[in-house]
């Protein structure tokens, strides 16, 4: 059995594009990390390091940082880019937006 080649990703860069999906996909770093850090037999070695902490510290923080970079395109500032809200009187709309966002939150919470 040959080992699959592994186009590993570092940080936020992207591995290979999707190939025809009927072949096994190569393992990516996330596949490997979720197994070697979180699964497998746990035997307490002589060296004590809590990998769950590491996972939180390293991976989660990196993801968070990457997410902040991506926040804009992921829609955190949706109100700024909404053509409906940016045409017309932007200043007057800002206050209205704030009030409306609060109402939206209520509505969405209330509708469950």
């Amino acid at each position: 059995m040959t080992e699959p080649s592994r186009p590993l990703v570092t940080g936020g860069s992207r591995a290979a594009p999707y190939a025809a999906a009927d072949r096994p996909q190569p393992a990516n770093l996330a596949d490997i990390l979720e197994r070697v850090l979180d699964k497998g037999i746990v035997i307490a070695g002589d060296i004590k390091v809590n990998l769950l902490d590491i996972e939180l510290l390293t991976i989660k923080i990196r993801l968070l940082v990457a997410s902040v970079d991506k926040a804009r395109e992921m829609g955190i500032d949706w109100w700024e880019n909404d053509p409906m809200l940016t045409t017309g009187k932007p200043d007057g709309l800002r206050d209205e937006n704030r009030r409306l966002r609060e109402r939206v939150r209520e509505l969405e919470g209330g509708d469950g």
């Binding site: 990703v9 996909q25 070697v36 035997i43 590491i54 409906m84």
Partner: protein, 256 residues
């Protein structure tokens, strides 16, 4: 030797120690088999500067280092799993002496045998399902009339979007559960892992299932046929599979 530790990759049963000469571990170090009865601990020497408590804490924060050790760990586990019944250990299990490794193996003997019996002749396969976020679903709402105030129109639109998201999310969850249930029927066991973050994988679409399955060697073809059939049954869902993996997800006994 005081500055050298033993990195413990996996427990194998019936592994020929000679084949370990054809593979290397972390930092190209030679692999060795520390035996106890029919079990062997696959280990290699590592520097305690890097793998002592202080070193590990420092190095594990370095994603490039973490990646290189994780990949090597997996490569060694895979190598052994292809040649003998093998239970991988969690990454970064380090002992200070060969005797300490052997003692642990003896102490773990019964539980290790239990795990090895469960995974013998089986391998782990990963199946992920993605929904396309651009998938149409009903748009549900009409365009608001032009006379409607911008604020109210906005509110309406937000509510429609929220409702659409909700029904899409429910349909996704149902599809994911159906896929997982079906695959579990063709496997010895199935587990759902947390959906992966696209920042790490770069995947497109919404990962609705990150499943992993322990499959009998004799039923791998049947399992893969089932995966293939899923693709036509769920045209709106992209299904990817990977494997065989060493059975990480099914070798998870915790210490008492």
């Amino acid at each position: 030797m005081a500055d050298t530790g033993y990195y413990f990759y996996a427990i194998s049963r019936g592994l020929d120690p000679d084949v370990l000469n054809t593979e290397v571990g972390i930092e190209q170090a030679a692999l060795q088999l520390v035996k106890h009865q029919d079990l062997g601990a696959v280990v290699s020497h590592v520097s305690l500067q890097d793998f002592g408590e202080e070193g590990l804490r420092r190095n594990l924060e370095d994603l490039a280092w973490l990646e290189s050790v994780a990949v090597t760990h997996d490569r060694v586990a895979r190598f052994c799993a292809e040649r003998a019944t093998t239970a991988p250990l969690r990454m970064a299990t380090v002992f200070l002496s060969e005797d300490a490794v052997r003692e642990q193996l003896a102490q773990w003997y019964d539980r290790a045998e239990e795990v090895l019996n469960r995974i013998e002749g089986r391998s782990e396969w990963s199946v992920k399902a993605y929904a396309d976020p651009a998938a149409p679903a009903e748009t549900g709402g009409d365009e608001p009339p032009e006379t409607m105030g911008e604020g109210m129109a906005y509110l309406l639109r937000r509510r429609t979007e929220a409702q659409r998201r909700e029904s899409t999310a429910q349909a996704d969850a149902e599809a994911a559960q159906a896929i997982h249930d079906l695959l579990s029927n063709h496997a010895v066991a199935g587990r759902q892992l947390r959906p992966q973050d696209r920042q790490l994988t770069g995947h497109t679409g919404e990962m609705i299932l990150n499943g992993t399955y322990l499959v009998d060697q004799g039923r791998v073809d049947e399992f893969l046929d089932t995966v293939a059939a899923l693709r036509s049954e769920h045209p709106g869902v992209r299904v990817e599979h990977g494997g065989p993996w060493p059975p990480y997800s099914f070798a998870t006994l915790e210490p008492e």
